[in-house]
């Protein structure tokens, strides 16, 4: 595959698209598929062929359009977006191609949810067919790879990424450029690139959506990384719980191999790169990089002390670059548009955009991408449409079981890595769960501790025993059996876990507890002293006489 051949594919694909008078796009990402969007798609296809209009109208499966709560979503060109579409709506939708739109299905697109977003990672989601490489290429795909192979040395690529200020989107926010340069300088027989797609945070589905909507973008990012650090093999570690993402990735890898975009001497250069999938098997700790490496090697996913860092000694003892899906998804646009373009977006220390998965008690559940530095209020109330069913905002939880719960006083805080950390939470991978006044914060803290307890790998004692004890105390609190002494012990344990655990799981496990103790102390007190749960969630108290 040479740049000229790539250009030919672009031309051919554009011509193919141009012969259709109309394009009806149906979301075929998991959110909409679980509301039977595939049935809608085949109903539309049948209706099109019944009207003998295949040459005029194409029905295209596309990736996530963001507003998962209103699925299945169907877009007619740029003219209209329809929500809650059922199979029986197919004739009406096709009628609307030439006439006025179908009012009862209309989903308004002039609302903040669509207007206030800035899409880089998700630029192709909802536009291209994730199962056709030609569609991705026509949208500018793989041009960054060609540019890198034809015009840039590995050093220049790393400089460009460093200039962009991109930071790891997996949660910790380590500067990507720095990581790449460390691995490129490390000495080893061979080097590996691993894409971390083990999205374990409950409530986070950004990575899955990117993989399902635009898998080639991730492959291209990995290829560029391979060129930059001199790697020859890559792995994508993806959750077995995401069958659709796995299927699309497999298709994408085959297509890229067929076109010579993966394999030996790509585009006549010296780059030889193969990508293979590895399926996770449901272990949250495998998001930690050393545990992930152990899992790719076919062992139990147990972390080991660092250093040596994977950049020096990673997979099979060789230098290994591990980045998250969203990080890789940012690479191609940075190369295409330049690091300076990317660095102009966002805040001083956190550049670019971030994808958040909005869920919980919020009207517009779904996927949004906003520049770093957007305030929580904008995300939750403007873009997210506010709290559902007229209830009151109580807290927003970021970073999953490793993050914290932030109360209303932080709503105007600009969201970036530093601010979230200062407030006692973390960016995490981008899950954002909104809670209203019907949630009990002690119960939520117990829920997360239960998660950490069962996900702790058991290697180090602070985490293995600490999470167990913290959970036991929280359980006591929710049963109204705890004393003030228990609360102080809870704080002591939190401190212990944070400072002495081996890996990120244990170190951050106390975050939900500490943040709720700090911001919702009232609720703990009500449970302990007055034996009541203000939100009415924890009922099994001695007062109720149940148990």
């Amino acid at each position: 595959m040479s740049p000229e051949e790539l250009e030919q594919i672009v031309e051919a694909e554009r011509e193919r698209q141009a012969q259709f008078k109309h394009t009806v796009k149906v979301c075929v990402a998991a959110g909409c598929v679980s509301c039977q969007s595939e049935g809608v798609k085949s109903a539309l296809e049948k209706e099109v062929s019944r009207r003998h209009g295949e040459a005029e109208c194409q029905v295209k499966g596309v990736g996530c359009m963001g507003l998962c709560a209103e699925g299945p979503l169907v877009a007619v060109g740029d003219r209209a977006l329809y929500q809650h579409v059922a199979e029986g709506d197919a004739p009406a939708i096709l009628d609307s191609l030439e006439g006025p739109s179908v009012d009862r299905l209309n989903c308004p697109t002039d609302v903040p949810f669509f207007q206030k977003q800035q899409k880089i990672v998700l630029e192709n989601s909802g536009n291209i067919d994730p199962e056709r490489i030609e569609d991705y290429i026509a949208a500018g795909g793989y041009s960054a790879l060609m540019k890198v192979l034809g015009e840039m040395t590995p050093m220049q690529v790393i400089e460009e990424i460093t200039r962009s200020g991109l930071r790891g989107r997996g949660g910790a926010g380590y500067p990507t450029g720095l990581k790449w340069s460390t691995v490129s300088k490390a000495v080893g027989e061979r080097k590996y690139v691993i894409c971390n797609a083990d999205e374990g945070d409950p409530g986070a589905f950004m990575d899955r959506s990117v993989l399902e909507s635009d898998p080639h973008r991730v492959l291209e990012g990995m290829l560029i990384a391979a060129h930059a650090i001199g790697a020859s093999e890559g792995y994508i570690y993806v959750r077995a719980e995401y069958p659709l993402a796995i299927k699309r990735l497999r298709t994408a890898i085959k297509q890229a191999e067929r076109l010579g975009l993966l394999g030996s001497n790509i585009s006549g250069s010296r780059l030889t790169f193969h990508i293979d999938l590895r399926l996770g098997a449901g272990a949250f700790v495998c998001g930690e990089e050393t545990a992930l490496i152990a899992s790719v090697e076919g062992r139990r996913g147990i972390p080991r002390p660092r250093p040596p860092y994977p950049a020096q000694e990673g997979l099979f003892g060789e230098p290994t670059l591990i980045n998250n899906v969203e990080t890789f998804a940012n690479v191609a646009p940075i190369i295409r548009n330049g690091g300076a373009w990317y660095a102009a977006i966002g805040t001083e220390k956190s550049k670019g955009t971030k994808v958040f998965a909005l869920a919980g008690s919020i009207k517009n559940t779904g996927l949004v991408e906003v520049p770093m530095g957007t305030s929580l209020r904008q995300i939750v109330f403007e873009i997210g449409g506010g709290i559902s069913e007229g209830r009151e905002f109580k807290a927003v939880q970021t970073g999953g079981p490793s993050g914290g719960c932030l109360p209303a006083q932080f709503l105007d805080m600009p969201v970036d890595y530093e601010n979230l950390a200062k407030a006692g939470s973390i960016m995490g991978s981008g899950g954002m769960i909104v809670m209203d006044d019907s949630s009990c914060m002690v119960d939520v803290a117990r829920f997360f501790m239960d998660f950490c307890m069962s996900e702790s790998c058991g290697k180090c004692i602070p985490c293995r025993a600490g999470t167990y004890h913290m959970h036991a105390i929280l359980d006591k609190v929710t049963k109204h059996l705890a004393s003030a002494h228990d609360l102080s012990q809870l704080e002591e344990l939190a401190d212990l876990l944070k400072n002495t655990s081996l890996c990120g799981l244990g170190q951050s496990a106390p975050n939900p507890v500490m943040s709720t103790l700090r911001y919702f102390a009232e609720e703990y007190r009500a449970h302990v002293e007055e034996h009541r749960c203000p939100a009415g969630v924890c009922k099994n108290g001695p007062k109720d006489g149940k148990q």
Binding site: G31, P202, F205, G280, G360
Partner: protein, 145 residues
């Protein structure tokens, strides 16, 4: 297994394949996989029990997976689990004594827009109420096959 060159590193992949075909991993399967990949049985067993995705018990005729991710938890997944416990007398990870229904808990299906979500056999259902759940499960129970 052959695709991975019968290497120990292919252990997890091999177990995935076995579970996909047989539905669970029994001791014979573990022995066979361990021997072919030349890893100690203890390691195969260790890996199979470490990861939540693998199961050593045969699943029931039907499976009902209740998502207990954060979003579903907040939107009422605990009520669904209570309902199942009342109706079937089983907790997540257990199968009814007649082998009809297995109940599992999932750490987030990533369908948070549909919270609370339940997977009946392989089909995802969103915004599930305890009543809807009971109807569905009772159908399974009464269905003679």
């Amino acid at each position: 297994m052959r695709r991975m060159g019968n290497q120990p590193r292919g252990l997890i992949e091999a177990l995935h394949t076995v579970q996909e075909i047989f539905g669970y991993l029994d001791l014979d399967a573990l022995r066979y996989v361990a021997a072919s990949l030349r890893v100690p049985l203890s390691r195969a067993y260790g890996v199979a029990t470490f990861y939540h995705f693998f199961t050593l018990k045969p699943p029931g005729e039907h499976t009902c997976v209740v998502c207990i991710g954060t979003a579903c938890y907040i939107k009422g997944a605990p009520l669904l689990l209570d309902e199942l416990k009342q109706e079937l007398g089983v907790k997540p990870g257990q199968t009814t004594p007649d082998g009809k229904v297995s109940v599992l808990g999932a750490r987030c299906l990533g369908s948070c827009g549909l919270a609370p979500a339940v997977v009946y056999d392989r089909e995802v259902a969103g915004k599930v109420t305890p009543q809807a759940l009971r109807r569905r499960v009772m159908q399974w129970k009464s269905h003679v096959s």
